[in-house]
Amino acid sequence: MSTPERERLVETLPSGVKLAVERLPSVQSAAFTVLVPLGSAHDPAGRSGRAALLCEMMLRGAGGRDARALTEAMDALGMERDVDHGADALTVSGSLLARDLDQGLALARDILLDPSLSEEELEPAREGCLLELMGIEDNPSEKLFVELRRRYFPHPWGQPLKGDEAGLAALTCDDLRQAAHLLGPRGAVVAVAGRVDPRAVRDRVADLFARWPAEGVEPVTGSAAAEALSDHVPKEGGAQVQIGMAWPGLPLDHPDYPKAALAATILSGGMSGRLFVEVREKRGLVYSVHAWHTTRRGRGDYFVYAGTTPDRAAECLAVLRAELEGLARGVTAAELEKARTQARSHFVMRLESTHARADAMAAQLHEIGRVRTPDEVLEALGAVTLEDLNRWLATRSLDGLRTLTLGPDWREGGR
């Protein structure tokens, strides 16, 4: 299996910003992702929701334009855009016609480094964030993961990404300006993919992102234990019990990371993955069941989701648990080859998308300080032997496993 030869430029700009540009010569689009290492883990005590509200406000005026002028400028380019955040990073991303990339990057720069954060936009933005929390309440599978993260990740990493009512209510424009003024080139990343000239993009990005308010956000240091909360969150009126599980995996730059990724594919890749077969196909316990492995700077984690009716929840949990434990007893050669094919195939297919490529390169620069080339990824997947994988799986324990259910009370003796 070969990947296309693509011109790629990866360098650290004079300001300290890390840049990756990849040229896809046969598309019309270009996509960018600008990332700064400020996330909900940085939300101060009593101000949970600061990152979420900042993201909301950033699109409500920037670079001297009010909300309407900014929106119209982006719409005039037909630019798809998003300002989003996770626990440890905030991203401004966009996709547009390659010929308009310069203008798109300039707008992204204004949004990130020159947001208006005006008083008149604060109340509507706050209301928007509070409404989003209500939407989560009405979406039990989303609510499940808010609650699981609180119980699984050490504090402050498990703080709700979208904040809470009290935090959102307390935030002021000054709070947001303080956060915006923390941003600096340290830890900042720009990734671009599309029909672009890498050197021209480099010059443009170096120019646009030369000046920042500060040196950069201080990383979150220290962590407290995750919140000690119940294993079941009751929620009235739900048709299904939501089941979530989380346990430790590996970060992207760990030498065994390819094994961790392949194990996730064996567990849950496609319709012949172990979970799909055992929980859905053979027993009809669910419509939806899947597992995935996700990485962040310095760590990786596995998650499982399943939704089932209350009278099936006990069996569903038992089967899930048995499958997770069963993985430690090893996988077959056929399973490994299948997972390898799936992982390589899906990786190559994602290379077609400029948006996916920009996001992936930005995430990698943030997590491990460099970009994994396609050849490197495919070789790493190819290098895992059955013996290595099974030896590694045998060392994995589920001691760090956290399980949570949400919805109607399914537990024996409950109610």
């Binding site: 046969s26 012949s272 299948k338």
Partner: protein, 412 residues
């Protein structure tokens, strides 16, 4: 591998459509069966979707697990969906696996339909029904369809009901499959890195499906019923609502494109009239607008969600904005921005073989002519403001249907 579009019909009557993009890294293939929930008799409500699931179980040559394994061993991204007028089975693969995945999908859509697989999968369908029972926005649209198309199969639930699925028997499904899944009632659409001549040869060699005796019945055009639907869910935080009017059918391609521009101008998540009036000021949680076209009827919709305490305010503002569509019709820079967003999304979307394949197949099943990307953009650019205004004029009248779901007892 010549870029562009070619068509072919196999000896068994299967239509094959291929759009080649030599620059793609992958290829996507889909079998589009011209049958869906609108073709169901009331006593088999949900059979099309249940059958879709059964096509991933045992075929006449291998068991269910072997089918799943085969799809995964090809490194495919495979799935299926059931709509009102079509059932689609599709997969995206690297080019070297295209032939194998086409042959596998063809085998899958003529499944064994065993009693045992049927019994187990029934539980999965029932779980899926419960999953959607926890999604009010989904239930809202079903309530709208049930009200608007009362008495016609379009009013039925695509997933079926607990009752209809529990009572469904394998024999009824086999009869439905025999009647509806025939080579002459299918389209194979392929897009991406592929060679048309090769695909035509592979398709010619596929076994015919069904006995080809006569064409399946065509479901009649529906009558539209005016009326409201209210579904009370006291456990929810938000009220979701949708309003519906008659709009263009699929066949009216220009009006469909004009409606697409209007949908963005009126109800896009950002920058639309309803976004400025409702979501930007924090009055509503979400807004939307668009066209749901069928071959013989069309539905223009406006949707929104908000807290119960804001419902009256939202309805008042919305009424004002719909009136303003007439008083200050779409034109000038506002119209051009909506057109640009539509065009950009079309171009960005075309870079995915999966998207191109789905468009090819859907257009064919709906009896529409093929449009290349350039054709689509040219058509989009040619839409006159007057055409958009003409579609918008349909929203000036009171809506034919209103549906809402949520904590309705609390609304003010």
């Amino acid at each position: 591998m010549t870029p562009g579009y070619r068509e072919h019909r196999t000896p068994s009557g299967l239509r094959v459509l291929v759009e080649t993009n030599p620059d793609a890294l992958s290829a996507a293939a889909g079998f589009f069966v011209a049958t869906g929930s609108r073709d169901e008799a009331p006593e088999v409500e949900g059979v099309s979707h249940f059958l879709e699931h059964m096509c991933f179980k045992a075929t006449k040559r291998r068991d269910a697990l072997a089918v799943s394994r085969a799809l995964d061993e090809l490194g495919s991204r495979a799935n299926a969906y059931t709509s009102w007028d079509r059932t689609v089975y599709f997969a995206q693969v690297l080019p070297e696996h295209l032939r194998a995945v086409i042959e596998l999908l063809a085998e899958m859509i003529d499944p064994a339909l065993s009693d045992e697989d049927f019994a187990t999968e029934k539980n999965v369908i029932l779980e899926e029904i419960e999953m959607y029972n926890d999604r009010p926005e989904f239930l809202l649209f079903e309530a709208l369809m049930a009200e608007r198309f009362h008495g016609h199969a379009l009013s039925g639930r695509i997933l079926g009901t607990r009752e209809s699925i529990t009572n469904l028997e394998a024999a009824a499904m086999r009869a439905y499959h025999r009647a509806r899944y025939r080579s002459s009632n299918l389209v194979l659409a392929v897009a991406g890195r592929c060679d048309a001549e090769e695909v035509f040869r592979w398709a010619d060699a596929l076994p015919a499906i069904g006995d080809g005796a006569g064409a399946p019945a065509v479901s009649p055009a529906p009558a539209v019923r005016r009326g409201d639907a209210r579904v009370s869910r006291p456990q929810d935080q938000l009220v979701h609502a949708v309003l519906a009017w008659s709009g263009p059918t699929c066949a009216d391609v220009r009006a469909s494109y004009a409606a697409g521009i209007l949908g963005i101008l009126l109800g896009d998540a950002e920058g639309s009239r309803l976004a400025w009036a409702l979501t930007h000021p924090g009055i509503a949680e979400s807004v939307g607008a668009g066209l749901l076209p069928f071959r013989d009827t069309g539905l223009l919709y406006v949707s929104w969600s908000a807290t119960p305490g804001r419902v009256a305010e939202v309805e008042s503002i919305l009424a004002g904005e719909l009136a303003r569509l007439v008083a200050a019709p779409p034109e000038g820079a506002e119209l051009e921005r909506a057109r640009t967003k539509f065009a950009a999304r079309t171009i960005l979307g075309s870079e995915s073989p999966m998207n191109r394949m789905r468009g090819l197949g859907t257009e064919a099943v709906q009896g529409l002519p093929y449009l290349s990307l350039d054709d689509e953009l040219a058509l989009l650019l040619s839409i006159e403001p007057g055409e958009v205004v003409a579609v918008a004029a349909g929203l000036a009248a009171p809506p034919e249907n209103r549906a809402c779901i949520g904590p309705l007892e609390e609304t003010r």
